[in-house]
Amino acid sequence: MQQNAAELCTILVRDTYGELSSRVVAALLEYGRSTLHTIIRRVKIPERVVKQTLVVLIQQHLVLHYTNEDGGRDATHYECNWLQIYELLHSGRMVRTIEERFGSEAASVISNFLLLGHARVSDFITAYGISTKPKPNAVLPNGTAISASEATGTAPITSAAQISKHIVALMQEKFLVPVQVHHMHPSVDTENAIRQRVTAEQAGSAAALQAKTKKAIDEKVAEKMEALSNDIDNKNFGLKRKSDQQDGRARKRTKFSVAQPTEEDEWEIDGSIILRVNNAKFLAIFRNEELVRWAESRIGKATSLVYAELLRHLEKNIVGHRTEKGLVDGGKKTVVSTLDIGNTLRKDIDLVNSIASGPAITNGHKRTMTNGHLFSANDEESEGDSDDYDLDADLDDNDVGMNGTHELSSAAQEKKEQLQNIRKHLMLLAEDPNQFVTKQEGSMQYGGWSVDTQRLCEALRIRELEQIVEERFGGIATRLVRIIKDKGKMDEKGLADTALLRQKDIRAHLGVLHERGFLHIQEVPKTAERLPARTFYFFYFDEKMSKMAMLNDFYKAMSRILQRIDHERSIHSMLLSKADRTDVKGHEEELLTKKELTDLAKWKRSEEKLLGQLMRVDRQVMMFRDW
């Protein structure tokens, strides 16, 4: 946790939840884990108000808490979950992502879960049923018919069944995940509690101190911690009716059974579970979007669309766990077949004309390759290779069965061609120096593909870093950084030789790079006296440290942007409060003067620009921190 990150988090909370929350968060970030009374003493706000604020923050998962039960009295400690605070920035993008994939109704479900923090499914569905009109042509008690769109404008979700259908869909793809008690505690505390329990079980005696037992305990603790997180990995966790480990009181509260099974879906939600938005999953999606953009800039639009489709298939299996190292997901091993992509790819993408047919030689070579592969595949099929069964068996069935109807066989032919074209695009991706996809040999007929996201993100990071160095310090500095990264530790002389520059010329660059934290120096004295003149100075590049330095800059930049927005807002405060009046809202054209209208538009534009910049920096932060 860096100072700049703390500042950013405080500003973000103030921007979203107001001043009170931000003061409590600031105190927690500054002093770390504290008890209620320490917080009260530090923020100088009445106890009752602090408590209320803590409820808000815990509800939104911005603050974690843990009550130590052993000892005479229980002491509850509060801790700020600053990564979650940072996630406040992503709200817009998350809602939009769901909107694109599942439609606006599901997006409104996500948006409401974001607003609520976590919520019990049954409560959520009940609330939805109340706040939206029941049926499009429902009749009010007084006999007037109203329509759903008239009632709520943009949330035409009509029945509980519909909402639960959306929730099930979102849960199956892990956009919503169940919350358990241990999610509300800092993971360190959870681990400690487990360790204590395991130690007590293992050996109640002094034997526990022996190295062997210690190791065994460590293993067991790790296992149990994993088990906790694996619960969520289970695809249909929380979807079937299952008894949870909740205590009696909680169950009494949740006896409310609302979960209605939907006809189309065999899964029903357990009404008593509590859901929240899975931020890690969204991070994985944002990462994939970035990869697609990169592929587009390197290869082309159509190929990137194919790539997006491939990644979308991989995403389905991603739950996303956030660790200190970054995002961990199971996407690496998953293989997607060309056939799967072909089934879901939009038909209007021009796959054929997007690859320019090059000079005859290479083109011919390629064609024979693909054709050759095709023929051999057909041959293999007769040998009865079970893995090859997928497509050709299907298509041939069509061919044979519908031999008379010409149309269907031509459709099959079309399908075949489409798959070949997709395959070409995927080959392009695989042959790129960055190796966007990895071909999995053997198993599937048109090929199976996997993506090594970790390696790709590493490459992405390096590329971004070099771009930043180039932008800030110029070409020579970039060259130096690249050389040092390549060669390891180097002194100035060796560096100058390798860079084909004079020592004098590179010195200033090295100085600046060192000052800004991109390069680091190790001193190796030749003699015991450590004279500067008799010392080697080796420059080296430490990825972790330069990452930290850069993140620090990013956080600072983001805080400044938000502060700038605040300042701009205060300049226009008169106008904004007027525009915010309940009678003016919606009637701006009539009630505001021309000058005010232009000013308002100007303010909105400038805020948009600043927020746009914020999101751009956010992209880099995610790249260096999360992916």
């Binding site: 979203t16 939840y17 107001g18 009170l20 929350s21 408590k51 209320q52 409820v55 815990i58 509800q59 009550t67 709200s91 817009g92 993008r93 809602v95 939009r96 948006s111 409401n112 974001l114 607003l115 609520l116 409560d123 959520f124 609330a127 109340i130 706040s131 939206t132 009010l140 008239e150 009632a151 404008g153 949330a155 919350v179 008690v181 509300m184 009181r249 909680a250 009494k252 006896k255 509590i274 004098k504 010195r507 500067p532 003149a533 409060s577 009046r581 309940t582 809202k585 919606g586 009637h587 538009a601 909105k604 534009r605 805020e607 948009e608 620009k609 927020l611 746009g612 999101m615 751009r616």
Partner: protein, 258 residues
């Protein structure tokens, strides 16, 4: 103590370096420039690339979300401290009182159900007054839900930004009209969307009154004296709504705890 001669020492060190003394045989080819720097050195101002439409949609959603949180029960604005109010701008006027969005000084917590086991025990009392030592235990014991407590659900604004500025006000206009109808059904949605005071009536009035009193006690009461006197400037503007307790509070922010 040790740094008393710091500046001089610095100079000395520098001199030694350039003279090539025994300690610093290495010659410096970097000549420091001690002259005054230019006041406004040349600087290429970076320009932002125009925002793409995707980015603009993200921003629109972000703003929309933030706006919803702001109009929700959790957003708080601390009023200005006593004596720091602007005597011209911060005077409560009739229109300000009637049309401006009411600001909350403390989050409003008692209108929604909570998952109690996710919260530390010491906060339960704050979340639900029935957990208080003096509170009504019947709710806790029977485990029944308070039907008045509901989650707030708001609709999503799916408008796409267009032109120079996107006006996300069109939908709000229709909401305004809906209010009348919604209010009859005591819809939670309407309560969220509107910031008027009439909406209070749905939610446990007794509790609110209690809370109000407590709140008033806690904040410094600027207008104690005025209240005792026979002239109350605040009352002058009272439109008779009565529901909002402005009169005795610190005026500027307007305490609104519903």
């Amino acid at each position: 103590m040790a740094f008393r001669g710091g500046r001089g020492g610095f100079r000395g060190g520098r001199g030694g370096g350039s003279n090539g003394g025994p300690m610093m045989p290495r010659e410096f080819d970097v000549k420091p420039d001690f002259g005054p720097t230019e006041q406004f050195p040349d600087y290429t101002i970076p320009f932002q690339d125009p925002l793409s439409s995707t980015e603009r949609i993200h921003i629109a959603r972000f703003r929309d979300h933030r706006e919803k949180v702001h109009s929700g029960p959790l957003y708080t604005v601390l009023g200005k401290r006593k004596g720091l109010e602007d005597p011209f701008e911060d005077v409560v006027t009739y229109s300000a009182k009637k049309y401006h969005r009411q600001k909350r000084k403390v989050p409003k917590l008692d209108s929604r159900p909570y998952v109690f086991e996710f919260f530390p025990v010491e906060l339960w009392e704050t979340m639900d007054s029935s957990y208080a030592a003096t509170g009504d235990r019947s709710v806790v014991i029977s485990g029944k839900k308070d039907p008045k407590k509901r989650l707030l659900i708001s609709s999503l604004n799916t408008e796409l930004p267009n032109g120079g500025h996107h006006d996300d006000d069109k939908s709000d206009g229709s909401d305004e009209e809906d209010e009348e109808k919604e209010r009859e059904k005591k819809s939670v949605l309407a309560k969220l969307m509107s910031h008027k005071d009439e909406e209070d009536d749905g939610l446990g009035d007794e509790d609110e009154d209690d809370e109000d009193k407590e709140d008033e006690g806690e904040e410094e009461d600027d207008y104690q004296d005025d209240e005792d006197g026979d002239y109350n400037a605040e009352q002058y503007f009272d439109d008779g709504d009565g529901d909002v307790d402005y009169g005795d509070d610190d005026g500027g922010g307007g305490a609104w705890f519903d």
